[in-house]
């Protein structure tokens, strides 16, 4: 029985270090290769020894596919390809290919230069890793090899985010990566056609949330920023350089413009301008409105948002600062946070999800005292606000995607176990399909039951379709007789006559005959006439013929009537049919046994 196996090495009942192995039709594919923000030890990367204990990655994997540039989806890529060792193709979209190395380099710098870790991948390794990348275009069918094909769909989540369909023969799997089912200020909504995959592997970050309207969230956000700025406070918004940052920049920019506000807005790190440049060049990946107007006004040229300098953090007066990274686990955002945390006039707004172990996660859980490196503690007096702006599908969105793709099975990753449990029940109830949620290292096996493709001779097909009337009538299924010839790995279905001819065989006919006794006080020919009339009305869709040689013929079935001179009223009806018409023949004999209508 053909089967598909799915094993998460990361993101199984967890958010972080997404890495999912899929075995389908004899091919092995790695989906994403991310790092975990919550750990600083070995657990930060997926456990590749799962594969390497049996040999090299390159021998095992047919390809690696990266869904988008967030580090929890691509952060382990140079480690995997250059340090563990993988030389096969790595697929990602153009924007991901452009932006991913920059974030990797950033990550490397923070880890190696700031934290002083050794045994980490180098800048050269990032470059070598990127040389193995093959760019993917949306909807393009990429033939990885003769049998394995992949296709990318728009996922919305961040610039260049993609969902991928993996197909071998008639079996297929769709992996969503992270996606968003509602268009926002700069990206469109995820979309997929009714591709009916055997398994749909979906993220489930917001498995239990149904988010209120986006407009409310935006209004709330603007109100909070505005109030804090009005009372002279500072607002820190930890973000990742690319993604939500641009969304919130567009939001604040338009608000500042409309309200004519003067407080400065800053964007930290040198990435700003570069990041916005990517958005300008990959404008075809943004939403329709931005694409349509970009010649007149490019939404990514900001008037109110300036580059941040470290020294500005100590400036008096109100300001808004976007700083990286988004989970307050390192870098500039953490640096600024430490400076501002002691003042209750200030505010930090967490616009996205924070994984366990990060400062972001701790303060969101209401922790008021933080232990910092070197045993010092930090009092958190500033206001902490959480506002979900991360562009993940919520429960409603996930259900919507299932409706779009119509999968035969569902598999959840990239979420918390408890929330997954809830969604799993919901999916199984609503769609009546199996839903799986394997933990890391646990394998889910799904048995597929694919059809067998066969070449049918056009003559046979046309003959059959013609018999069914001008249009094939699905309401009245017809039995078709053919001969399947298997030769040199090809399967051909031809008419029995053609098969006999081709194989040089002579035909043997197998006929059944049957006698039915019936009392009828008419002459033989009248009885036959009555049988003819009866069958003609009973079998409206069949050709019933009354031949001059005193026979009635229905398809291959021959009907005759005889009687002995002794008992002229006891008629013996002779029925004879070929093997192929066994069904009709036995039906007719049963029918006639019941007698003729008076």
């Amino acid at each position: 029985m053909p089967e598909i196996k799915v094993t998460p090495l990361g993101a199984g009942q967890d958010v972080g270090r997404s890495c999912i192995l899929v075995s389908i039709g004899g091919k092995n594919i790695m989906l994403d290769c991310g790092m975990h923000m919550g750990y600083n030890d070995d657990r930060r990367f997926p456990d590749f020894s799962y594969i390497t204990q049996n040999g090299r990655l390159t021998e095992f994997l047919d390809c690696v596919i990266i869904s988008h540039f967030h580090l929890d989806h691509c952060g382990a890529l140079p480690y995997m390809s250059e340090m563990v060792g993988y030389d096969g193709p790595i697929y990602m979209t153009h924007p991901t290919k452009a932006i991913c190395p920059i974030l990797l380099e950033d990550f490397r710098k923070i880890t190696v230069d700031k934290k002083g870790e050794t045994n980490f991948f180098t800048a050269q390794m990032i470059k070598d890793c990127m040389k193995k990348v093959v760019p993917l275009n949306l909807h393009q069918t990429v033939q990885v090899d003769e049998e394995l094909e992949i296709k990318a769909y728009y996922a919305g989540h961040v610039l260049g985010a993609a969902m991928v369909q993996i197909k071998v023969g008639l079996e297929s799997v769709v992996y969503t990566g992270d996606y968003n089912m509602t268009p926002d200020r700069h990206l469109g909504a995820a979309w997929i056609d009714k591709c009916r995959p055997d398994i749909l592997i979906s993220e489930s970050t917001y498995a239990t949330t149904i988010r209120d309207s986006k407009r409310c969230r935006e209004r709330d956000f603007l109100k909070k920023v505005h109030e804090t700025v009005e009372r002279g406070g500072k607002v820190l918004i930890p973000v990742f350089a690319l993604g939500r940052a641009q969304e919130l920049c567009i939001l604040l920019e338009t608000f500042w413009e409309r309200m004519n506000l003067k407080a400065p807005i800053y964007f930290s790190t040198g990435l700003t301008e570069k990041a916005n440049h990517y958005y300008k060049l990959f404008i075809t990946w943004t939403n329709q409105k931005i694409r349509k107007t970009f010649v007149q006004r490019n939404m990514f040229e900001f008037k109110h948002i300036k580059a941040f300098d470290r020294a500005y953090a100590d400036n008096p007066g109100p300001m808004v600062v976007f700083a990286t990274p988004g989970m307050l686990h390192a870098g500039q955002s953490l640096h600024i946070f430490k400076k501002w945390a002691g003042n209750e006039k200030n505010m930090v707004i967490m616009p996205g999800y924070c994984v366990q172990g990060t400062v972001g996660h701790k303060i969101l859980n209401g922790q008021k005292k933080l232990e910092m490196e070197g045993r010092s503690t930090l009092d958190v007096k500033l206001q902490v606000e959480y506002m979900s702006f991360s562009a993940h599908a919520d429960a409603k969105g996930i259900m919507q995607l299932i409706r779009m793709a119509e999968p035969r099975n569902m598999l959840l990753v990239h979420g918390e176990a408890k929330k997954m449990e809830f969604l799993k029940d919901k999916i199984e109830q609503e769609f009546d399909i199996s839903c799986f949620m394997p933990a890391n290292g646990e394998t889910t096996t799904v048995v597929t039951n694919p059809n067998v493709p066969v070449d049918i001779s056009l003559n046979l097909l046309k003959r059959e379709m013609a018999l069914g009337g001008p249009l094939p009538d699905s309401k009245r299924p017809r039995t078709m007789h053919g001969t399947l010839i298997m030769k040199d790995n090809s399967l051909r279905l031809v008419s029995p006559e053609q098969a006999l001819k081709e194989l040089g065989l002579s035909e043997h006919q197998l006929r059944f005959t049957c006698r039915v006794q019936l009392h009828d006080s008419h002459s033989d020919s009248d009885t036959l006439g009555r049988i003819y009339t009866y069958l003609k009305s009973a079998l409206k869709n069949y050709g019933v013929q009354h031949l001059p040689d005193s026979t009635v013929i229905v398809e291959s079935i021959v009907i005759k009537v005889t009687s002995s001179p002794e008992e002229p009223n006891l008629k013996v009806i002779l029925l004879s049919w070929s093997y192929q018409d066994e069904e009709l023949g036995s039906f007719l004999s049963t029918l006639l046994k019941k007698g003729l209508p008076s």
Binding site: P135, T141, D455, L458, L461, T479, L503
Partner: protein
């Protein structure tokens, strides 16, 4: 399988393929050369063009002085320029299911096909093809609507009158089917029927046929198309290039194993080498500028102009042209320059890698930033106050019959210091210049046509080995002007099937098989018996379901006897 040929023009094709109950139109090119029979449309009042004498036949019997004007020793139609459309009578256009577009030059007749014909199908094109095609249509409409003509000349088209007219008017063919330009509303409506596709995307048509665009290397988003079922494969090759210019390189290997290959859009100037022409373009340009003259480059607003600008970008400093202003004037100049920068996925590797830096892929961004290249929607407005001479002007339309170029012809034509450099291969430059004669201006003909030449195409065909080749008739014989050049025609082992306008070709196909799926239960129930070594046979009795051109066989269900009509009579 049949091919209906609605256009005989080899580079502006329009063919319709009937294949497995689908009707597929391949391109709909618009032949704009018909506009050469018309007087130019001046943007600014031209005393010369407004005082032309009307035409009356020598014996005075035919008087068309309102419609025809004598200009530079020839007779032109004084009316809004018209275009020659694809044939519309050969088959019912409302039966067309889909239109496949190969590049933005080959879609200009789209509104004539999709509007007012009952067309209800879908048009497939890549995103750059759609966006740039839209710009070119917008430009065409703007050129026409900026200079409205009070009346339309129709009398001269009367067959009995036309044959009395002087050449070349009397030899113009199919004049009755010539049409004026469409409106913006029609353009929008036509383009709303376009569905975007990416290279190598597989699009299913009614479950019967699969179509897929492949990169053709000719222009941004340009494609060849594969039209195939499980057993038959037709390749449609249109406007392809093997030269390394800005677009993604041509995908050749996917064209292999075709049963039929329809070949159109080869180079129109097989004797000119594009690289040589580019060199000549640069040297003529700098010579004129150095002598204090102006250079006029009539061109389309997208395509080769990007390469010309890039070439000048590299060349201008070494040639001391650093201070010469370059002007690009077109209603869509800005959009065209902006759009060219956002299609990284569709560009050659070299340009793609620039976007990763991130830098704009084309250097014209830098030319604009440093004020070396300026673009204007028209000669009116800012341009008139900012314009400095000597300069280089890129503007349309290359037919010299409409657009801002008409003004520059009137302005600069009288001075021998100035030069006009023709780079577009679509129009005979002598014909284009006819209404402006006598000219003092220097004329240089540097046609740059990057499409496949005969040498390249025969090499390509050897490699991909299609069973049959279909091509426009002109490709099967040497050019009429050079009958001895047998190298300038297609020479194949099996002679190609040639078509001309209005041909209907039966394509040599014998379909013998169709794909059918056995449901797993049925497949399991089959008993194979080996008849000879390697040949096994099983008899199949199963129920056939056909839906949306997909066929499925499933197990007969005996408990549900298919005899619905039997119970209708009482039994004795």
């Amino acid at each position: 399988m049949k091919l209906y040929c609605l256009s005989g023009h080899p580079t502006l094709p329009c063919n319709v393929l009937r294949f497995k109950s689908t009707t597929i139109m391949l391109d709909c090119g618009l032949d704009i050369t018909a506009s050469l029979y018309f007087l130019p449309l001046p943007l600014v009042h031209s005393p010369r063009l407004s005082k032309l004498p009307g035409w009356v036949s020598k014996d005075g019997a035919v008087n068309l002085e309102k419609e025809l004007k004598e200009c530079s020793g020839r007779v032109f139609v004084d009316s809004q320029p018209e275009f020659c459309l694809p044939e519309r009578e050969l088959l019912d256009l409302s039966t067309i299911d889909v239109i496949l577009i190969s590049n933005y030059h080959c879609m200009m007749a789209l509104p004539y096909i999709t509007e007012h014909t009952g067309f209800t199908g879908t048009v497939y094109a890549t995103e750059p093809t759609l966006q740039i095609g839209r710009l070119l249509m917008e430009e065409l409409v703007a050129f026409m609507e900026r200079v409205p003509k009070a009346h339309t000349a129709t009398c001269w088209k009367n067959k009995d009158i036309q044959r009395l007219l002087p050449a070349p008017l009397k030899d113009a063919v199919d004049v009755c089917s010539w049409r004026r330009c469409y409106s913006m509303q029609e353009v929008n409506s036509a383009l709303s029927k376009v569905q975007l596709v990416g290279y190598s995307q597989k699009v299913e048509l009614f479950g019967a046929v699969q179509v897929s665009p492949l990169s053709s290397g000719y222009s941004l988003g340009s494609s060849n198309w594969i039209i195939q079922s499980h057993y038959e494969k037709v390749s449609y090759v249109s406007g392809s290039s093997l030269l390394t210019t800005h677009p993604q390189p041509m995908d050749q290997s996917s064209l292999k194993n075709s049963d039929v290959l329809i070949l159109t859009g080869l180079t129109q100037i097989p004797t000119a080498n594009p690289d040589g022409m580019l060199g000549e373009f640069c040297s003529n340009l700098s010579m004129t500028i150095r002598a204090g003259g102006n250079v006029l480059v009539p061109c389309y607003s997208s395509g080769v102009i990007y390469d010309l600008l890039e070439c000048l970008y590299q060349f201008m400093d070494s040639a001391n042209l650093g201070n010469t202003p370059f002007y690009f004037i077109s209603p869509v100049a800005n959009s065209s320059l902006e759009f060219s920068q956002i299609f990284a996925e569709w560009l050659c590797q070299n340009k793609q890698s620039k976007v990763y830096l991130p830098e704009p892929p084309f250097p014209h961004a830098e030319l604009i930033q440093t004020n070396k290249l300026k673009h204007y929607p028209s000669i009116h407005g800012d341009f008139s106050s900012e314009f400095r001479q000597p300069c280089v002007v890129f503007t349309g339309h290359p037919s010299l019959r409409f657009g801002d170029v008409v003004h520059f012809m009137e302005l600069w034509g009288k001075s021998s210091l100035n030069t006009i450099i023709f780079t577009e291969p679509d129009f005979s430059y002598l014909e284009a210049l006819a209404p402006y004669q006598p000219l003092a201006m220097k004329c240089v003909y540097c046609p740059i046509d990057t499409r496949l030449n005969f040498h390249q195409v025969s090499k390509l065909l050897k490699e991909i080995q299609p069973l049959h080749v279909v091509c426009p008739e002109p490709y099967t014989q040497p050019p009429p002007a050079q009958p001895h050049r047998t190298d300038l025609m297609l020479e194949l082992q099996h002679p190609p099937m040639a078509y001309r306008r209005c041909s209907v070709l039966g394509l040599p196909f014998r379909r013998r098989y169709e794909r059918i799926h056995l449901l797993p239960e049925l497949a399991k129930s089959l008993v194979l018996s080996e008849m000879k070594t390697g040949v096994s046979v099983a008899t199949v009795s199963a129920v056939l379901h056909s839906k949306d051109n997909k066929h499925v066989l499933q197990v007969r269900e005996f408990q549900n006897k298919p005899r619905p009509h039997a119970s209708c009579h009482g039994t004795a």
